[in-house]
Symmetry: C2
Subunit: 337 residues, 2 copies
Amino acid sequence: MNTKRTAVVGATGAVGRAMISILEERAFPVSELRLLASSRSAGTNVDTQWGKVEVEDLATADPAGIEIALFSAGGDRSRQFGPAFAAAGAVVIDNSSAFRMQPEVPLVVVGVNDAAAARHEGIIANPNCTTMDLMMAVAPLHRAAGLRSMIATSYQSVSGSGQKGMDELARQVRKLGADLPALVNGGWQDPGGEVYPRPIAWNVIPFAGSLQSEGYTDEEWKFVNESRKILDIPSLEVEPTCVRVPVMVGHGIAASLWFDRPLSAEEAEALLGAADGVAVWKEKVPTPLDSAGIDDVLVGRIRGTVGTPGGINLWAVGDNLRKGAALNAVQIAELLV
Amino acid sequence: MNTKRTAVVGATGAVGRAMISILEERAFPVSELRLLASSRSAGTNVDTQWGKVEVEDLATADPAGIEIALFSAGGDRSRQFGPAFAAAGAVVIDNSSAFRMQPEVPLVVVGVNDAAAARHEGIIANPNCTTMDLMMAVAPLHRAAGLRSMIATSYQSVSGSGQKGMDELARQVRKLGADLPALVNGGWQDPGGEVYPRPIAWNVIPFAGSLQSEGYTDEEWKFVNESRKILDIPSLEVEPTCVRVPVMVGHGIAASLWFDRPLSAEEAEALLGAADGVAVWKEKVPTPLDSAGIDDVLVGRIRGTVGTPGGINLWAVGDNLRKGAALNAVQIAELLV
């Protein structure tokens, strides 16, 4: 098999660590593994299937020789270093939002629009985690009936904000405790936080990301714009609402979907049951905890609409660190081998 | 003022206790307070503004003389005892779902359809908590523009299942702990539970209530049927999704709304800003923790739709034990004084 000199950029973050694990699990044909991160993490050693690897400082590392570079180091670093890596000969698979909407950059959900990857010019973008998980549930229905409009309402876990999101939730839960009188009657003490605008412990925050335009956040615009690009439906109508929930891993989405023709719950279930990378759960409802650590996007609660007829209401949940990020990036790399 | 011999049935539950507090806070003109509950709680004493009151056994108590009976003891007890209380002369204000859809029973959200209360025949129903909180945010917009269709997706706290829901969440959080490796990679141990079909700690469960018809739960049908009755729009199109979240108190709802005419975010904000019982939050996003212990329903994230034009996306959150249950019941009683 054609082996590849492979790099993980942002190797010490939550997604970077998942990328290394998934390269190992899937026996990706790595000929040499390089790990890069900020100067803060440089010099540390990581044990991998390909030996102990010392983390290099991204700012000073030479990208020469790298064939595939999996980037998950934030949009600024992708913008700063991604093009140089591509110019040095690597195919950059970038998990940030930096390049996703650039027309010449393919935005690929493996299993949905694999063919787009071939048209890359050195950079391929990995979609937003929430959008990606939803696309896995929506694409099989779209292929059969032509998606027209979508209301997407999310339940996003704190690992979507990286390790610091998980640390903030754990710390706040410890600090507030299960202090029922205060939680029930008000009077709780603000536990403080740096990642989210409001406490996330024992709470949900109907605001994920940062405010962009028309009152919507960047996370919400990703639902709109990335769905249109991935499914190649420029006129797709999307109403997005992104909400953070006190869950460590697993992004859930409640979606209402209407198509060019009526779709029954039975047909939707059959289509999703036959789709790769999707598991339909009927006996148990699939929850974020169930999705943590697995590759499939879980779909449940498939119902015909009861308001505006002919559509489908459903629930999808996926591991945002795996299919929502690292797994899809590695799957894109597999398309290139 | 016309004082009333008042009873709270289900006085030791989460909502019953809130009813007693709210009668006190609002200085409801109680001439005599009677507290009733199951035989398990009978004989215990409760300190109230009207003296120490011994809890009576509902099964054997004589309803004679009671003028207003606030019921929150579950649907079965409402069906069993409500009509007898009404026959004995009380006006029964019932928090269960037992009588809500009966045509002769008014279903009243105070501030929305107060006039309906006057048409009672001995029983007035208090709406479902999630629906009630949403109606407070929707009714002012409906009055101005005529509501046509609504996608309602909930984030329901565990106190909607009563004290036992709160106990289950607290116990499961303690049992699972903030065990990051297990929560992130799977491998968590099922903490066991009696109230919910799946663990609720560090999780969300896209299934609230029990399965009814067409794949929807009773909680979801309440969104449909109670909204239609309260707003008096028999043809209202509703897509309901009810999800339980690991929050003690406060039910949130993300809603997409379309009307007989286009409504702008500015107009919606002005209408809601002028409505009693509603507070529009702009600087901070309103969360369940913010709603706990207060009377107003908080509304935020008011946005013009970006998919199907002319509608409104918004977020509403209210204390499900107060406006969502006990407060509204007491407000109905106030209409009767």
